[in-house]
Amino acid sequence: MFTRNFRNICRRYSQSVTFRTTETSPVQQNDNQVGLFYTIEKDVCKKLFGHGGLPKSYMKQTKTFTETTLMIRQPALDVIDCIKASDLNKPAIRYVLYGETGTGKSLTLAHLIHYAHDAGFLIVHVPWVSEWLRRVPRHKEMSNSQTREGFVDLPLDAAAWLLHFKTQNQTLLKCGDLKISKDYVWSKREQTSAGAPLAELVEQGISRVKYACDVIDALVYEIKLLSNNKQCKTFVAVDGYNCFFYPMTRLNTPTKKKVKPEEVTLTTTFMELTKNDWTNGVIVLSVDQIAVPEDHQESYLPKYLLYKKGFEHLDPFVPVEVGRYSEKEFLSCASYYRDRLWLRGPEDLETELKLASACNPYKFMELCAPL
């Protein structure tokens, strides 16, 4: 018994799999680093994902592990290579991330956002669409739109998103090169004049929550114009995009009328942004089964999840599948968990866990939790 244990422990300490890379910038990463973990610096992480963007269970892990690390995986690298190789002067290319639940679509998106940040893109990132359309906390602010007949505004959510936008792009907004092109009149006394910096428009939305939805509308229009004029390049990322196309939301108007997603002003705004009628931009969307209710979760393929309407709206797009762990990725992940003390025990644990989790990253993390 003793010798066997001793042998096991010796093997564990001698057989150290490399699972970390020091290459912290996604711009520099290449195919040699597939399956390795890289650390996102704390301040960058706070800047990019301080207002959402990383899944809750992952946030818990980062707290326990005392660091934010992402695995470099093939889908993210593929998209980065595509972005590097493509001509930005052509209409924006749309990438759709899809995959089973728990395979890491959101984290791939996070990796791409980090890339966009390092490559100097203007980031337009929606952390989770269902947060707007499907989650109804006790005090969900809703009002009928002042500017558009028959539409519904979500002022608080919109203002929160503007704050998110502001923190993500603070460096770009601070330098003030981005100017708006026309006058916006919000009310008799409030207006934003042409030539003002983009930051002022955002500030207006945050301070006057009532107009936040209209501000986002104007912002999207301006961003498209600026990108067309080559003043900035834009990276659009929307997580749980298929939620826009599910026939019903869980919102009710004060008169108890059910709201359809296309009657929400935010939906129309982001529909406008995901069209390919503008240049100098990259659009990465993810479709997720858990963004829609259970009755529409039979398949994870984009055609099923986006419905006919969404599919036609996005067509043509580049589908990118985010799959389960490969052999190498699984081993690297397991040794990372061992390094972070999350996984302990004999070596044969790995084979068993591999079988039980079917190499699904989220399942694997869950199964490791009580060990």
């Binding site: 018994m1 003793f2 244990n5 001793f6 422990i9 300490y13 818990k60 326990t64 005392t66 972070r340 003390l341 999350w342 302990r344 025990g345 004999p346 044969d348 644990l349 068993e352 939790a369 009580p370 060990l371």
Partner: protein, 235 residues
């Protein structure tokens, strides 16, 4: 290297404990008759037990004996632990084993998170080596610390019921330890979740402090106070 051997010793101790528990826990005796006649043997489903049988050449004896099929929870998985299974069964209500299992596993997860956090906070290597990170090990020590050594039995003599101290069986003391731990965990605010509270209770008990250890000590004190009645057990 010293650290390594230390870990090894701990591990060996843990295995030894496991074996002693297994003797108590793994005997499947049913209160009601089952579909199997009583000459059916309990299955031996652990690989290491089977290896031991082969070493002692007892496998051929079992070959001709009818044996019960193993239950669903009796697996040869690496992370099978009979005591954990026992605790899960105690947590279970109305046969909802899946729920009970998830609760206990959540509690383990909480323990692990708390301990890892402590581990990262600790500054010196000696402090770090003292922190037990394995939640199962913590459960084992917690239950070991909660097990009472004596019990009080009410015995009626001359119209008066005396609380008479006496020895306790291994099985009953295990039962009491688990029961007390669960009672302590359920005694909580409505807003606190069971896994959280259970994790705290286990950590306290493993540290030889907390409600349950106090309860055990109270029982021991009561037994000590009533030692004058001890002769009623046989008179």
């Amino acid at each position: 290297m010293r650290n390594l051997t230390n870990q090894l010793l701990l591990f060996k101790k843990y295995i030894h404990e496991l074996n002693s528990f297994r003797a108590v826990i793994q005997s499947r005796c049913y209160s009601r008759p089952t579909s199997f006649p009583d000459y059916f043997q309990n299955p031996i489903f652990r690989k290491e037990d089977q290896l031991k049988l082969i070493e002692n050449n007892e496998l051929s004896k079992l070959a001709s004996v009818p044996i019960k099929p193993p239950a669903v929870y009796e697996t040869s998985s690496v992370y099978h632990d009979p005591l954990v299974n026992k605790v899960i069964n105690h947590v279970m209500e109305e046969g909802k084993k899946k729920l009970a299992r998830s609760l206990v596993e959540k509690a383990f997860e909480n323990i692990k998170r708390i301990q890892i956090e402590r581990y990262h906070l600790a500054t010196t290597p000696e402090q770090k080596s003292k922190i037990v990170l394995n939640p199962k090990e913590i459960l084992h020590t917690a239950i070991e610390n909660c097990k009472p050594l004596l019990q009080l039995t009410p015995i009626k003599r001359g119209g008066i019921t005396y609380q008479v101290p006496g020895p306790i069986t291994e099985k009953r003391s295990l039962f009491l330890a688990i029961k007390w731990l669960l009672e302590a965990a359920n005694e909580k605010e409505r807003t606190v979740h069971f896994p959280e509270q259970f994790a705290w209770e286990l950590l306290d008990a493993a540290n030889n402090t907390g409600k349950v250890v106090k309860r055990k000590q109270d029982l021991h004190r009561q037994c000590e106070a009533n030692r004058a009645y001890a002769h009623y057990r046989w008179q």
